[in-house]
Symmetry: C2
Subunit: 327 residues, 2 copies
């Protein structure tokens, strides 16, 4: 058992996948580090004070939690979304949950702009035509003056809004509740028919799960494109595939999927109007170091018994904009 009094060394369990946090051992002082993967987490977790879910795609935490987590007072996830750790048993506990809000904002905003411009300028087709040594002139679209509806009004959604407005798009930002410059979630239905680009950057919650489905797609322009950098289950994938196949909407850039990695037999891989990328929109060179920095800062606060950065409002499923945060 551990601090904040400082008498005993902390035990930190690190749930990792193929890679581990760079330089972490030099950043944790006298804490004991236990490295675990999906299969060994259940053995490692009991007796730990802190859980760092470095592999934020893992579903192993809930199972391990049931086997004994009463000593765990803080869980930190190396992602902005907390859907994999926001299970009822943890939400009902006194354990503090923090995320990596702020690390991914501008990179993700640049990524979203990249996909919007790629659609407008037909860049994926240029790449494919180049592979065939084919010179084929096409007309392109302007982006200035077009309308983007951005769902998700946290730091990522705000960063996306800023960069899209900077290049002349009109942006309608949708969040959970209405506030200055943000539409309430229930305004989304009325905004979808306006969207040339629908950008999903929302946390995965009961409210947002499956928000894009056959019915909502039906209200959209047939020239509209969807960009998803939030979480795969924001979209009912089968409905999107149908809409893209039939031309009901014009395209989709998907960085996140209901199942990751995207299965090899997914129809999305071969659709010319789809841009598939492997959950990398926020991952700029050095991102792992930045994530370790953020965890180390929070660890220092934790040792001192002070309030942590990026504490997740467990009732809402994301960091409240009124709480402290680094973003």
């Amino acid at each position: 058992m551990a601090n904040p009094a400082g008498q005993d060394a902390l035990t930190i369990t690190v749930l990792h996948g193929e890679d581990t946090p760079p330089g972490l051992s030099e950043r944790v002082g006298d804490a004991h580090l236990r490295f675990a993967d999906d299969t060994s987490l259940a053995d490692a977790l009991p007796g730990s004070d802190v859980l760092l879910t470095w592999d934020f795609t893992s579903d192993a935490v809930r199972g391990a939690w049931a086997g004994g987590a009463d000593t765990v007072r803080w869980v930190h996830t190396a992602s902005a979304g907390v859907d994999r750790v926001a299970f009822p048993e943890l939400l009902a506990s006194d354990t503090t949950l923090t995320n990596s809000r702020g690390v991914f904002d501008v990179p993700m905003a640049e990524y979203v702009l990249t996909t919007i411009l790629a659609f407008a300028k037909d860049l994926p087709r240029s790449v494919r035509l180049q592979g065939e040594r084919t010179w084929r002139h096409r007309e392109t679209e302007p982006v200035a003056g077009r309308c983007a509806v951005v769902v998700g009004s946290g730091p990522i959604g705000h960063a996306i809004t800023s960069v899209l407005r900077a290049v002349g798009l009109r942006v309608e930002l949708v969040g959970r509740t209405a506030r200055d410059g943000v539409h309430a979630f229930d305004a989304l239905d009325g905004l979808l028919p306006e969207a040339d680009f629908l950008v999903l950057a929302a946390p995965l919650t009961d409210q947002t799960r499956g928000l894009l489905h056959r019915g909502s797609i039906e209200t959209m322009r047939d020239t509209a494109r969807v960009v998803n950098v939030g979480r795969g289950p924001l979209i009912v994938t089968d409905d999107l595939v149908d809409a893209l196949s039939s031309g009901r909407i014009a395209g989709a850039a998907l960085d996140v999927f209901e199942t990751e990695p995207l299965p090899a037999d997914s129809a999305l891989w071969t659709m010319d109007n789809v841009i598939v990328s492997p959950h990398m929109s926020g991952d700029i060179v050095g991102w792992r170091d930045t994530l370790v920095d953020l965890f180390a800062e929070n660890l220092a606060l934790f040792r001192d018994g002070r309030e942590l950065h990026n504490v997740v409002d467990k009732a809402r499923g994301y960091v409240s904009t009124t709480s402290g945060g680094t973003s």
Copy 2:
């Protein structure tokens, strides 16, 4: 012989390629239209008052000019660059030369940003990996804070500068001579080592021809990328191919080439660090209509004996920024 007195109907020769100006016949009043292609231009030009070079890639004008152009008082080109019509005999004549400055500015700026973001976010590789159904996470680069050197300080270069600055790049703009916010051309050598992105948007003149060659490339960062939306001969292609093959620079997005269409045996087609596109950077949907609008406006001014828009400074090879213009 013709106006401005208005007595006689004008004769306008239209040099066209595969397409002709949409709706032109309804926009020229009582003028006679002669449509000619590369091979028939020499027969059509004598006796014409006006030459509209709708096919701005044609080299046929100079040959036809020698066969009789003394009645031609105005040449208008459906492009921003005037290199194909800026031959000595026309430059020495009293014929007024106008271009289509202003039509392509913002579309080209958006196109340049698209290629810069595509390099930073590794989008062409995502497209190719998608074609192989391969999920491969990569780290990407930020563009905010990176340095772009933009060569060409006309409306296109200024539009590029604005949009790149809007997303957070530092931009150094290079023109023919130094003025407020613009470096003189001879400052380029000192700026090249700073460039993460070198953007060529200059007119093709004696000063700019071959500006990127083995020697200038040697001064650049090995992480730098080149974007050319100006004219192919701004670059010594063989030197660029060598530099891209050896990793001396990191990439190039080329929309213009020394020979267009790019020959099927060009090494550029198969280079993974090259984005080839078919001279389309400025060509948004409706661009042909906009070009006809611009010609029709100028035709009305011509009939009235008034100063035309976008008069090219024949000594410099481009529209002087102090002259009237629509951009």
